[in-house]
Symmetry: C2
Subunit: 170 residues, 2 copies
DNA sequence: TATTGTTATACTCTATAACTATA
DNA sequence: TATAGTTATAGAGTATAACAATA
């Protein structure tokens, strides 16, 4: 027998107690729901969230070494190897030799990687908008600002993220 | 050689491109950081986020069947078995027979479960406050409201979730 | 010696499917 | 037949540790 269990944030009649007061639980609950939708939407490309992150990072920062990619993504080098292997197998990433250091490889998007990344990104953006459809533009901006604060992203110079945005709800 | 890789939301000199505009990436990034802190803070009790959720749900809704717990948590029954096994091994949860259905068990907290859950919850709350320390009370309330909206929690009838929640401290 | 990429191995969390004992 | 709990097995995603080639 199969148990596909779509996650319901709230089951009627159930008491959630302290869970409802924890920011961490709210974030986790939201993340689970979004992750599910992402995986489903990107299944045709065999792209998962970590793979997409890696793809974008390599695209925006061509010539990275695998060790650098691992640091940026916050994973172990062995994990980066698996990630790059998968992206290489999909034909999206190539390991080019580095003349100045024959131990290392320079990571690049392939031609196909560049092309498909556009379609993939369009799908990701559609997914992101669909999943946040319950928020208006201002609420979304507020949420971004708050999450950036939480995850330790200092307001970047040209983009003073949150305070300017009003509480929105009331 | 070991690679402990603490996750940095932003590595200097790296371009994040579209990732910075995606709500999903911001949520995932925040969740990763919080998860790490939770696991570290609760390690003395061998409590992980899924275990904590299960513990609170069982505590607030005594007498649940394992299949109900699985539905509430959004996991497969086989996963609930593993979760309950772990909590039972820690001495926190018991499976009591259900006279009206001899196939099922009634899930309860043990005496020790009730006692330890208080200390565990205090630790979880301390963790949650520490990790959200960069937000003031109003920002936290706003974040809760937005996340609840996102994760599909309709303002429940008797408890119009976000607006009514007072800033509490001030 | 130290670093780069790799491999071997293991652990957590999750899933599907089949089994058993009841209903 | 269908359901409750369980077990077997597998697949992501992550980790640590050790290795060969190169610095």
């Amino acid at each position: 027998m199969s148990d596909a269990v779509p996650f319901l944030a709230r089951v009627p009649g159930i008491q959630y107690g302290v869970l409802d007061t924890l920011t961490g639980y709210a974030v986790r609950r939201t993340q689970l729901r979004m992750y599910e939708d992402f995986v489903q939407a990107l299944a045709p490309w065999h792209i998962t969230p970590p793979r997409y992150s890696a793809l974008v990072i390599i695209s925006m920062n061509p010539g990275l070494k695998l060790t650098q990619l691992a640091q940026i993504l916050g994973i172990a080098r062995s994990g980066a190897v698996i990630l790059v292997d998968a992206l290489a197998e999909l034909g999206y990433v190539s390991r080019d030799p580095m003349p100045e250091d024959r131990r290392a490889f320079s990571l690049q998007l392939t031609e196909r990687g560049r092309t498909d990344l556009e379609a993939i990104t369009a799908t990701v953006q559609a997914h992101d908008e669909r999943v946040t459809a319950s928020l208006d533009a201002q609420e979304r901006a507020t949420l971004h600002g708050l999450l950036h604060k939480l995850s330790g992203i200092a307001d970047s110079p040209g983009d003073p993220v949150p305070e300017a945005v009003e509480p929105a709800n009331q």
